[in-house]
Amino acid sequence: MGRITLDKVTKSFGDIEVIPPLDLTIDEGEFVVFVGPSGCGKSTLLRLIAGLEDVSSGQIRIDRQDATHLPPAKRGLAMVFQSYALYPHMSVRKNIAFPLKMAGMDKAEQDKRVNYAAEVLNLSDYIDRKPGQLSGGQRQRVAIGRAIVREPAAFLFDEPLSNLDAALRVNMRLEISELHAKLKTTMVYVTHDQVEAMTMADKIVVLQAGRIEQVGSPLELYRAPRNRFVAGFIGSPKMNFITGAAAEAFGVHEIGVRPEHLQPSTESGMWKGTVGVGEHLGSDTFLHVHDTGLAETITVRASGEMALRHGDTIWLTPEADKIHKFDAAGLRVE
């Protein structure tokens, strides 16, 4: 249960093609994250899978069955919306029981499942409140509860954490990962935040303008981004891109080096620059280095203890085997 295949799926709104032909397989039990900048078609793709939008062409298969023209309710998928989309006039219990009631399940079984979901998600204390009386994190849990009671073939999440504050987001991230480990159900998760993608995914799908740029595990994308876009999108802080003479020294049009793969030194190194702003995180310090002649700024990770001030001279040396090389079209060169 829970294998989803997209076969040459496209989607246009009027004349505008939002999703050009796209193939993708989501395996059973996988946690797949669609990540990409805002407006790249992540939500549209998820809604195509959910059946809330009709595909313009192509085929969607769920568990080997053609689901292209099935209505949403018949696909056996559950979705958690960005706005949570709780029913404001129903109590938490009624919200969670709603899909069961629509399925015509008998009352005792409904109660059993709702109580189980409430227990799993720590909802029991406010099961009789209305959504309006809950905090953002609690509403989020109710939305997830409403999804899990149906025991769907797969869960679809559309930026579920974007309305939460930073601390809660980290918590909920862990909770959703826990839930996946417990339920082992396929999950498709949409986000624009690469940190969420890296921390939660089994498999990341990087999208740009409706196209799949790369599919792979978080570490695959980190170690071997297939092109410049993926290289720049995955990893925090962003990779440094260097063109010109320094890149030609490596025999390519452009090279990319992550901040954590640059060795800073006060005495000697490959490139010389001036220290600008330093962001102190305690364990690490991210230095913005100027006047290197390589790019406007180069970001470098230094140890938290490194004593460097604004205006000091610094030397940078890239780790030789961690340099990413790109050709003029932005594709990776090995």
């Binding site: 809330l52 979705m79 709603f98």
Partner: protein, 290 residues
């Protein structure tokens, strides 16, 4: 946070407006109550002696009174039912994406801008007239006997006319409420397996509760005092068949020149309107909270 001082200042500042409003309402009310206790008929000039509750007794025991109460409630209830149900249905229809939506919406609102006397006359002469009305032509075309609406079903006809006037108002409010419904809620319900009927029943209708409350409260205030439509169509008749409370008060004081009984009727109408208002507030006012 208002301090003691600023609150006192605020009271002082608003007092002229409050006093003006009080005088504005209390003086006419006081005069109405005063006249209602006098024997005061314009056809019999002379001194106007104090008669206590006699006018009230006369008004309340008049057989026209109970008929008027019934007609008033039937009129209010009937129009509310038609406009709320019709408004929801029209709202659902207008909420669908369609060609020429803007113009259709303006057309739907149009009846609200027609004056009550004018719309009642149009209905009376152009539609319901048993000889020249469009309905009569239609009946003849179908080979049926023309129906004399205002003579045979006067109250129903007036309910129809007034509903036609108020349907746009209800539609407008309910349509606006429908458009404020979060689309994701409907999509969530769709994924949860709710069909169109269940989505309407479990999601749209509860969302509309507050708007329906507003429509009912506002319309009730205006419908209790429907007058022009009755005056230009049936004159309250035949008999008392389409006399509501407002029209009865008018008939007492201006057709029979009996200011005393008319005033008594006015006071009774105020009391009844307040009873209805309290009743409504109790019943559905809680929808307005939260």
């Amino acid at each position: 946070m208002a301090t003691q001082h600023s609150r006192a200042a605020a009271r002082l500042m608003i007092s002229p407006a409050v006093l003006l409003l009080l005088g504005w309402m209390l003086i006419p009310l006081g005069m109405t109550i005063y006249f209602s206790l006098l024997r005061y008929n314009l056809l019999m000039p002379g001194n106007n002696p104090y008669v206590g509750w006699e006018n009230y007794k006369y008004f309340l025991t008049d057989p026209a009174f109970s008929a008027a109460i019934f007609n008033t409630l039937a009129l209010v209830g009937g129009v509310l039912l038609i406009t709320v149900v019709g408004g929801i249905l029209l709202g659902l229809l207008l909420d669908q994406p369609m060609w020429g939506q803007g113009i259709v919406r303006i057309l739907v609102i149009a009846p609200f801008f027609v004056m009550p006397t004018v719309s009642a006359l149009v209905w009376k002469n152009m539609f319901m007239n048993p000889v020249n009305g469009l309905f009569a032509y239609l009946a003849q075309f179908l080979g049926l006997e023309p129906f004399d609406f205002l003579a045979q079903a006067p109250l129903m006809s007036i309910i129809g006319i007034v509903s036609w006037q108020w349907l746009p108002f209800a539609t407008l409010i309910l349509l606006t409420a429908m458009q404020s419904l979060d689309r994701e809620q409907l999509e969530a319900a769709e994924m949860d397996g709710a069909g169109p009927f269940n989505r309407f029943f479990y999601i749209v209708l509860p969302h509309l509760a507050r708007a329906v409350t507003v429509v009912v409260l506002i319309q009730t205030i205006f419908l209790l005092s429907v007058f022009a439509e009755i005056l230009v169509t049936t004159n309250g008749g035949p008999g008392n068949a389409s006399t509501n409370l407002t029209y009865l008060v008018y008939a007492e004081s201006l057709l029979r020149f009996d200011v005393g009984t008319g005033s008594a009727g006015g006071v009774v109408a105020i009391v009844l309107a307040n009873i209805v208002a309290i009743f409504l507030m109790r019943m559905i006012g809680k929808n307005l909270e939260a």
